[in-house]
Amino acid sequence: MSAAGTRLAELCRAAREGDTKMLLAQVPYARYLGVRMQVSAGTPRFSLPFTAHLVGNPALPAVHGGVVAAFMENAALLHLLLMLPAGRMPRSVDFSIDYLRSARTETLYAGCEVTRLGRRVAQVQIRCTQVAQGADEAADAGFSPAATPDGAAETGDDRLVALARAHFLLAEPE
């Protein structure tokens, strides 16, 4: 395996064990957006805290639709990376998103499911949600279950913002 591949594999291993910062640092665009990642019981969950540079429509206000899509693409890529043994970035083939609700200027959450994992091609489905109403307690409190009043607020599953699917081409094993 190349030096870069070995490093990526090490970062993935660390992320699987809960230390995701270094892996996120490997994807500059994820860092620019402010994507956060938490792995618990082997399952990654993603969040995107709101910052002013993410706004699309200041009149509503709403997060830019491209940011929602990019956040979900990042989630899919990072989720897939965590599942693959080889240390090379999968390459995006296509991406398709349905926007269900405008994304409020609050934290976005995403979770993924790998619905197809072949030798060459993977398909990932992504759900993007926000907390249903009121103050964004889940973002302030982080992901800690103890700090949020109920399970729904912790995961932000209440309000489905968008659904997406992505195909990736998997690198040849080295």
Binding site: V27, Y29, H64, G66, S96
Partner: protein, 152 residues
């Protein structure tokens, strides 16, 4: 409806002023009229997706497409109106080197009372070697409202 030159000029000027994320990324609108919208996005280190191969993150391309596709709808509408993206799909045709600008042209090829249909193409070196192709649909949410409408 043929958009007035004033409306198109206002659209082009106000696009980066009014949409914070467009301003943050540095998207430069080059053209907006009833036939097409086109924009250029100069490269930045923070747009990298794959540092090993030196490639742009596809999310940047998607954001550029969503933005320019929206402008194409506005320009075709010719008057302020709120629009909402319904769906967007992108095919990534070629690897995009991170050191080269992206150009996106979007065409609103069909407009109905409720829906706008857009196709877009993104390239770097040459239009005949696109890095991405896209189709999207937008819902028209009502005349006289929209982020780019000049406030009176």
């Amino acid at each position: 409806m043929n958009p007035s030159p004033d409306f198109l000029r206002s659209l082009t000027e106000r696009f980066p002023q009014v949409i914070p994320h467009v301003r943050a990324l540095g998207i430069e609108l080059q053209r907006a009229d009833a036939e097409a919208a086109q924009a250029r996005l100069p490269p930045r280190p923070e747009f990298v997706g794959d540092p090993e191969r030196g490639l742009l993150h596809t999310g940047v391309i998607t954001t550029l497409i969503d933005s320019v596709s929206g402008v194409a709808v506005f320009a075709r509408l010719g008057a302020p109106e709120a629009i909402v993206t319904l769906d967007l799909r992108v095919d990534y045709l070629r690897a995009s080197p991170a050191d080269s600008a992206l150009i996106c042209r979007a065409v609103c090829y069909r407009l109905t009372p409720h829906i706008a249909f857009v196709r877009a193409r993104v390239w770097q070196r040459h239009e005949d070697e696109p890095v991405a192709e896209s189709l999207s649909t937008f819902m028209r949410a009502g005349a006289g409202r929209g982020p780019l409408e000049r406030r009176r």
